[in-house]
């Protein structure tokens, strides 16, 4: 038997964490429940975040948007603010898991799980997302790239909670591009993924670019070198080939049951060639 707590407020949560410091926290459970069944984690008690109102929903704050950590993927997919300002996140969410997984899983869970294959992460990296961490008598904001330290590792300390994600609206980018390579079209873990934000001029020149890859290193990977190779250049097969070659040396993928490192490396570069579809 295992205790499951369903706090309704953050105060209840802080109180619970004092009494059950060893408890495992979850929101949708799409990662935690799988690990529990497989015996990969032990938990004498569980704390579920889904009923805490403070952790729910999308709040439009003008220049910024705040997403509560326990907001489900499905809620985000249907949210007009996210749809309008962050289409790249919508693209990634629409290929995350399957409808039941999207109904349960949350953005905070996807961040805290810190898998390099987390589908929301490459978009959040290119969007320069920040996370809000709270504890019983404090809070802080830090860049997502500083929050995630490695596979399954974050800077979250004892008694701390990922409360939400901050996104800054930007009109700079007219191309939001996300592509996930998986072993099938749904219920797939990314073998490689690429998130790209581009500002493409009327003449087809890349004025600004941000790139992030999933599943090709211990965390989501960005490369200033590849971005520089594209910035200021007109989209062409030649330009993209050069950038692809740079990307292939920049990534550090591993072999696993889903694909070899060599395949991931090749495809990490190849996915840039898809940007030819945005040539003017």
């Amino acid at each position: 038997m295992r205790e499951v707590f369903l706090p309704r407020t953050l105060d209840e949560l802080w109180d619970l964490l004092r009494r059950r410091p060893e408890a495992v926290i979850y929101a949708g459970g799409t990662d935690v429940l799988v690990k529990l069944r497989a015996g990969l984690i032990a938990a004498s008690s569980l704390i579920c975040l889904e009923r805490i109102e403070d952790l729910q929903g999308v709040r439009d704050q003008g220049d910024e948007v705040y997403i509560g950590a326990a907001t489900t993927h499905r809620t985000l997919l249907a949210d007009p603010v996210i749809q309008e300002h962050f289409p790249i996140l919508i693209q990634a969410l629409s290929v995350l898991g399957s409808p039941p997984v999207r109904n349960m899983g949350t953005i905070g869970g996807n961040v805290v799980t810190a898998s390099p294959a987390g589908d929301t992460l490459p978009p959040l990296y290119v969007l320069d997302a920040e996370v809000e961490v709270r504890w019983s008598d404090g809070a802080k904001r830090l860049p997502l790239s500083q929050f995630i330290l490695g596979p399954g590792k974050t800077s979250l300390g004892p008694g701390q909670l990922l409360a939400g994600v901050w996104l800054r609206k930007s009109a700079d980018y007219n191309v939001h591009h996300f592509e996930k390579v998986g072993q099938r079209k749904a219920l797939a873990i990314a073998v490689v993924s690429l998130a790209a934000l581009l500002k493409v001029s009327d003449s087809g020149r890349i004025d600004q670019v941000r790139l992030a890859w999933g599943s090709v290193g211990p965390t989501v990977m960005r490369s200033g070198e590849v971005e520089s190779a594209l910035e200021g250049r007109v989209i062409s097969r030649e330009t993209l080939d050069q950038a692809a070659a740079l990307a292939q040396t920049a990534v550090s993928p591993i072999d696993d049951i889903r694909a070899s490192g060599a395949y991931r490396r090749t495809v990490a570069g190849n996915l840039l060639l898809r940007l030819i579809n945005y040539a003017r």
Binding site: K185, A188, N270, N277
Partner: protein
Amino acid sequence: MPDDRIPQIGVVFPRTDALTKVRGEERFAADYYGRDLVWAGVKRAGIPHARLKSLDVDQARQVPGVIAVLTHRDIPGENRQGVVRKDQPVLVDDKVRHAGDALALVLAESKSALAAALKCIMCELEPLPGVFDPEQALADGAPLVHEDNPEGNILLKAEVKTGGDESVWDECAAVIEACFETPHQEHCFLETESGWAKVEPDGKIVIVASTQAPFRDRTEVAPVLGQDPTSIRVIAPYTGGAFGGKDGITVQSLLGLAALHAQGRPVKMWWDREESFVAGTKRHPARMYYRLGAKTDGTLHAIDVRLYLDTGPYDHLGGAVMTQAVEHSGGPYRIPHARLRGWSVYTNNPIGGAFRGFGVVQVTAAMEQMMDLLAVKLGLDPVQLRLKNAVRCGDKNCVGVTLTGSAGLEECLEKMARHPYWQNRQIWIQAAGSLKRRGVGLAAVMHAMGYGTVVPDVANAQVELTLEGKIRVYSGVVDMGQGNAATNLQIAGSILGQAPGQMELVQPDTDRTLPSGSASASRCTYTFGNALIGAAQALKERILQRASDLLMAAGPDELVLVSGLVRRVTTGQDIPLAVLAKWLTDTERIAVYRFRAPVAQERPAKDEQVRLHGLPHCIFSYGAHLAMVEVDELTGAVEVQGYLAITDSGRVLNPQTYEQQIHGGIVQGLGYALSEDFRVADGRIQTSDLATYIIPTAMDVPEMLSIPVEINEPTGPFGLKGVGEVAMNGPLPAVANAVAAACGGRCFSFPLTSERVLQVMTFES
């Protein structure tokens, strides 16, 4: 919701089990619990090959809630089981031969006590060098899986030779040689292996199992328990899928043994998905060496085939699967000179067993790619090449058997050649988008029906007029999801003029229904349907005759059967069946009929063992398949965008279940072709669950078109032939041929993962 329409043959007849399944009311074997339930489970070896030195179960017996811990010493009878060769221990007594072998059986009050006890079982296992490749297993000095097998690691070998000697190859204008490798495939049924057992107060052992073969299970379990088969009752509810993976013992013997130690309490065993992967059977991996020769005009002239099928450590129908592979290895073609050889080989890999397609899937994958390679070499159209060589009624097939049954491959191929998918393929291919390549591929398929020559393919049907005036149909063959139970009602209802609401169905049960063989081999409706027609007609005659006597009519011609009653059409008098039933004795109310499927008289293989394992057959279903694929140049991902299957499996009784069988076969075949990359390293499964073993989702499946070519099969029930397996054979070769056409290069190992396809594309450019 009883339907009041009298079923007709050839018209959609809704499955009687559809509503109960959707509502969750249908009771599968996995749904049996009961008061004072005992949970049973086994300790699995975890290593592929080892000598059992000692087994310490004392600590496990001390776990609170544990009722008994049993080992091979507790087996009252023979500790070996198997459909053909009894080579599989119920509980290991000498050696572990694969990682899923069972070492000890635990009975506990709860699942948690069971899990705790299983962890406490101490096994001293001395690892032995293993053998994991079927060709290496044949080498001198290879580790032996069964030291007492006189043939070393060979379970069975088969050879068929027709026509002339080696010199026939000199008469060929083109010769193609290639080697193909296909992987294991997991059945992935929704309901994992499960069952429930209990010893009744009178001593009878009742086993409810998710099984395809309740009658054969009884004869396998009885010697293990040291019992007479008639003291065991096996009940087979609808299974939640089986596909061959429940054609043979899974939980039955263990449950019977557990029941003997449960003091009359019910015992339940239900493997979880991971246990199903490690302990259940899989499709046999195959390595297939092909050489095919033809004349300039494409006339096939000679074929040489060597097949190596990895059966894992146990027979479990592995000999029969290999024999069936050999029989189909030349495809549905006339080839005058053939040398076809196969080896079913023991290894320490997971157990190979029956799986929809039964050896034909593997060889069709190879042969149909050989046909495309040949078409390219000779510059011939792939449809025309197949049409030129397609077997017709009266031809000899590749093992030299004269085909006397219906043979509609030509009709299927002609229909395909005229279909817009084929006619307009160039336009479709050229419309490929940026960074995409398209290809269209096809495959011709055939599939034998039934058990073959020696093992009697027999069904015994029973139909009863109950005292309530209903028609009760006793299904002898399990419905594992294919819909034959409803088809049985459709057949009986159409003959006896009864709507579904006037009928009852008894599912296979060794105490209530008659032995009718396994749900397998595309035989269920063919064999049982023929028996059922006989029984229903006999009962109809008796009902009408007795009603005629009762009404003092001139004869039964004045009478007809309609739902719930007999009507004398000459006078308008009605007799409810419930009234008539009271005028009949108990024996008169029941009609039975036996049917045995016809067999081929030829003896293509010299070895009597090969004939015993099923070669040859005499009736086949046929088909022509077409796949439209788009390959991504950047990732190698293959998307199947259209699929067409044109099938000759005789007349169609129920268009809905027919289409479901074709669709199901295509989807399972697409998974095998593209994503189901079952990986085993040194006998250990690497893709051990549904997160890493990738079966298709609805998103991965294209629109599937199924077109029947309804040629009457004279021996079939209403002209039907089996349709359960034939569609499974087409997807891999059709997709592979389409991908090869798109990429300009071909993979010879399967499935066609993105990684493999990208490699081929990179190599070709």
